[in-house]
Symmetry: D2
Subunit: 95 residues, 4 copies
């Protein structure tokens, strides 16, 4: 199941500044073969839902190993069957 | 990776009334072994993230077979390592 | 603009257990005239979007006064023009 | 209440291709004084929550006038009191 997702990971219980953790997440996403683009509120990722779930589990394992006791995630995603569409296609269609 | 999730599935391109599709989603979730509770804006589900992803793929396959051309999903979820917590625990803690 | 919303408020920077803060949020929502129902991952609220925004500002002010340095919110909401619909109507349509 | 938000508007009941409606939303956001950046899954906006709510109402009014019978919205947003932070600051902190 191919999707275009907007993923946001929120470390809880570690103080208000979470950029060290977001850098770790960014490194994991950058190292994955999935096409991804970070923006100010999350990261857009395109790929198989199962692969994105595995990526989330990697992020969870890494942040847990760094002592983050609780994590909150938001993921908004879409799929379509009427045509193939990439993240670039979506932006091109409205500009 | 055990999570408590709030899942919402939005069928696009099929008219404004989507309750026939939500009934199909409900039947799939009810038939799964995952603990789940529907509410007015989605369904709370607790279980392994990978199992919830499989459930989403089942819903996608069913709705696609019924002719839904595009689907939009929101999933908000949380995990914690400092203690085990169920959906019932979460509600009990604040009431 | 009348909506049915699913609101979740996540206190950041205050430790992994946030139930004392969620209780404060619940008290503010209970005291408001808006129709609302808490569930395991948030609270469903129906009313004017502007009124829900005011409620969010009240929650933000209260939690800030209690020392929460950072807050993360998710709000998923819907409106429809083809017919009037309450939260109870939504649930009844699929059961 | 100043926030950095990620807003996504999903037109329902109008067919699977919604780019004509997203273009209308983009025009309204571009014409507003709020700082905003569109990405593949939504638009990041920084400003007062009340101003963002007014922007949403403008989008709702426009899309309704174009015949969209039902709209679904997701808005993820954050505020912080420990320091001022812009969208550009957020990205700079993790790159």
């Amino acid at each position: 199941m191919r999707v275009i997702a907007d993923l946001c990971i929120v470390p809880m219980g570690v103080g208000p500044s979470v950029s060290p953790y977001v850098k770790e997440i960014k490194a994991i996403i950058d190292a994955s073969p999935l096409n991804a683009e970070m923006h100010a509120n999350g990261t857009n990722i395109e790929g198989e839902l199962a692969d994105i779930c595995k990526l989330i589990e990697e992020c969870e394992a890494k942040l847990t190993s760094l002592g983050v006791p609780r994590l909150f995630y938001t993921m908004v995603f879409g799929s379509r069957r009427d045509k193939e569409q990439t993240m670039a296609d979506k932006l091109a269609a409205v500009s």
